[in-house]
Amino acid sequence: MSETVLQHNQVSYLEYQGRFKGLFAWIFSTDHKRIGLLYLYSMLVLFSVAATLGLLMKIELIAPGKTIMDAQTYNSFFTLHGITMIFLIVVPGLPAVFGNFFLPIMIGAKDVAFPKLNLLSWWIYILGALVVLSSQFIGDGPPDTGWTFYAPYSFRTGTNMLPAVTGAFILGFSSIATGLNFIVTIHRMRAPGMAWMKMPLFPWALYGTAWIQVLATPIVGVTLLMIVLERTLQIGFFDPALGGDPILYQHLFWIYSHPAVYIMILPAMGVISEIIPTFARKTIFGYKAIVVSTLAIAFVGYFVWGHHMFTSGMSGTALYTFSILTFLVAIPSAIKIFNWVATLHKASIDIQTPFLWALCFLFVFMIGGLSGMVLGALSANVHLHDTAFVVAHFHFIVFGGTGFAFFGALHYWYPKMFGRMYDKGWANIGLAIFFTGFNTLYLPMFYLGMIGMPRRYYDYVEEFHGPNIVSSFGAMLMIAGLIIIITNLIRSARKGEIAEADPWKGKTLEWSIASPPTLENFDEIPVVTKQPYDYE
């Protein structure tokens, strides 16, 4: 018996041969690391599709009137783009890829609590993705409702929106299963000595996120199910023509979808809290403050959904309350920013690619968060709601926040995951182009919103032309940067230099094991005695 254990522990998880061969060794693997990579590859494909749709939309908007597509196509593009980016990429993204891969390792476990459930979540995810994508090809044309499926338009449209809704419903189960799995793993499987306050911050962030996933996702599930019932059986929940209430739909939708923004952003904050101490060679400033802010965001985030509905005609008291709460939820995020910057004070900074990603993250995330202050103020919100300003704001938060953290995480943990290093020169050039393009793309959209350009506009008046040209040019630049970044990563997975076990001199547990890790991660479960970022 000891002999087989030894064998398991000598080959890396990438080479390990189990019961199945080839592709099946992956899609039937219950190893948390392989599942993490399955998610990574699926998301890379979906992201490329959705980003291409985004680029095509921006090309369409380079001039008023018809440029390369008609209005119906444009409307279905932003719908599919939004659904894919939100439900298939940024909501599940960081937990599914890096949470799966690194959560067990960072808390000193051999796998998650329920490996089979974990594999099942990936299968459900793929099923959901296929159902969403099928809406493009079957029935009466691709859905054109926007990712928000607002009633009653979503009942009026002749397009095939049911599969998209059903797909989002299915994806909810995957999200709940992953969340549950992580909660149990964190409670039950921490290595001996790893008290709660000795846990690294990425697992902490995943913990906060998992609770939102488990508690908030059922709401959207029920809401989407109600749409399905209404459309098929004509039960009137939301459509006024059937006696329903469209505002009720908006409440239900945002009760989930606002906390979902925190599902997206908390793990991103966790990633940044890992990268910064490693390259600063310094323990994180204010560990406890960061943990408390994480939990505060997860909690207060439940009570601010109404800020998406300031112009839909709520009562004065509701408006007032939602506005105050929205401002309050910004404070824990601000505290995190201050702590990250303070960590750099008197540090000894090794400026490497992942660190540059973290710096860029801080900059764009601040713009996203601060522009949210403008939207949280009632009077400014009335002017800016549903304009290009909002589109810029959420791309800065969601793409700038989660997207940058995702790429940061990929560059940070890449040597651990693949045992090879990417070309750092190309990685930095890609980042520079991408970062420039990103800002050129989205900053003009703030201005467009301020001068009154509504969102989801296929066509616009001449007044808006100038900034749109700049923005479309930025999109092309940004996509060029993305292509460089992704090509470099794909190429290096096979051809890159062999990486050491601890190329960045990190202190958390994943850097104490082989690169790539062996099947069971640890030869022997470690005993934790120190704080996670101990650089004494």
């Binding site: 209005a71 409307n75 054109d144 607002y150 009653p152 338009y153 009026r156 006024p240 023509a241 469209p246 505002i247 600063a280 060679r281 400033f285 204010g286 560990y287 403050a289 112009t311 005609g313 004065g316 506005s323 401002f327 309050l328 404070i331 505290i335 920013i337 201050f338 702590n339 910057v341 750099l344 004070h345 008197k346 540090a347 000894s348 090794d350 400026i351 801080l362 601040m366 713009i367 601060l370 202050m373 403008v374 949280g376 103020a377 009632l378 009077s379 400014a380 009335v382 002017h383 709601h385 549903d386 304009t387 301020m450 009154g452 969102r455 989801r456 506009y457 296929y458 008046v461 007044e463």
Partner: protein, 314 residues
């Protein structure tokens, strides 16, 4: 045509712009200060300059400071947002009321004396109240120059009000996504001095009597004003609804109560298609998209439309 930068275009511009500028000032300060500090630290404490880091675990007094200061600042921002917003909810009693209707995909404004327009005409320096009504899906009436926006939710009563402060023509958009032609649901607000407005308001004779010499011209005007052309083309191309080119007199395949049948398009059929659009559905098109125009169009109006359609079949 319109400018965003007119500070007195409506009575709300000042409140909104003040809150905007206060918040912008605060956020620019933070953005610049934090970014500068960050960049300074990265240069000052890079490895080559500072080979050994000093381990600092945190500081309770700093944590308290940077919790309290932002809390105060966000309360200031909230306050400005709130006072800029409050007056928007309280329309004066004696406001000049205009019924404003949004439907896929045009606007219609109905005045108390029965006048109907697709452009919003309002008198200068007088409180104007818009009673909002959506006929099909949610729309949102947005006048950027006035800093005003309100959703129109079917089945719900909503209103918005303002006092125009400067003569001119301003853009009016729909900002709640409402389907195919959402971005062309665009018209303007025309602000006129009271005397000019009164003259315009009293003149309820039909503009169209001036152009009746051209056959179908009045009908053309009616369909334009009622937004039919958002869904029906005149040149044979297929939009949401069937084109009217060559429609009159042609043989049409329709679905009536689930059964397919053929008929010749005549005046009675067109009349019925406008009053009960869902009784016969043209093959290849969706039911439920076209709403009945029973309450909007008189029989004379429909006769004019038919005259106009005939010109498209010649």
């Amino acid at each position: 045509m319109f400018s965003q930068k007119i500070p007195d275009a409506s009575n709300f511009v000042k409140g909104v712009d003040t809150s905007f500028m206060v918040i912008l000032g605060i956020i620019f300060f933070f953005l610049i200060a934090i970014t500068a500090t960050m960049i300074y630290f990265v240069f000052r404490y890079r490895k080559s300059k500072n080979p050994k880091a000093t381990q600092i675990h945190g500081s309770v007094s700093l944590e308290i400071t940077w919790t309290i200061i932002p809390t105060i600042l966000v309360m200031v921002m909230f306050y400005y947002g709130w006072i800029g917003y409050k007056p928007m909810k309280e329309a004066p009693e004696d406001a000049f009321t205009i019924k404003s209707i949004g439907r896929m995909w045009n606007w219609q404004f109905q005045y108390e004396n029965g006048k109907q327009t697709d452009t919003l005409y309002v008198p200068l320096d007088r409180a104007v109240k818009l009673d909002l009504k959506a006929l099909d899906v949610i729309h949102s009436l947005y006048i950027p120059a006035f800093r005003l926006k309100q959703d129109l939710v079917p089945g719900k009563k909503q209103m918005m009000w303002f006092i125009p402060g400067r003569v001119g023509e301003y853009d009016l958009f729909c900002t709640e996504y409402c389907g195919l032609q959402h971005s062309s649901m665009h018209t303007s607000v025309v602000v006129m001095p009271q005397d000019k407005f009164d003259k315009w308001y009293i003149d309820t004779t039909r503009v169209a009597t001036l152009i009746t010499d051209k056959p179908g011209a009045l009908g053309h005007l009616i369909v334009k004003k009622n937004g039919c052309l958002a869904c029906h083309s005149l040149d044979g191309s297929k939009l949401v609804g069937p084109s009217w080119k060559g429609l009159f007199g042609k043989t049409e395949v329709v679905i009536t109560q689930g059964k397919k049948r053929e008929l010749i398009v005549d005046s009675a059929y067109i009349h019925n298609s406008i009053h009960n659009p869902n009784s016969d559905i043209v093959k290849g098109f969706k039911r439920g998209l076209m709403l009945s125009y029973k309450d909007d169009l008189t029989d004379e109006d429909i006769d004019e439309i038919i005259k106009f359609m005939k010109t498209l079949s010649e």
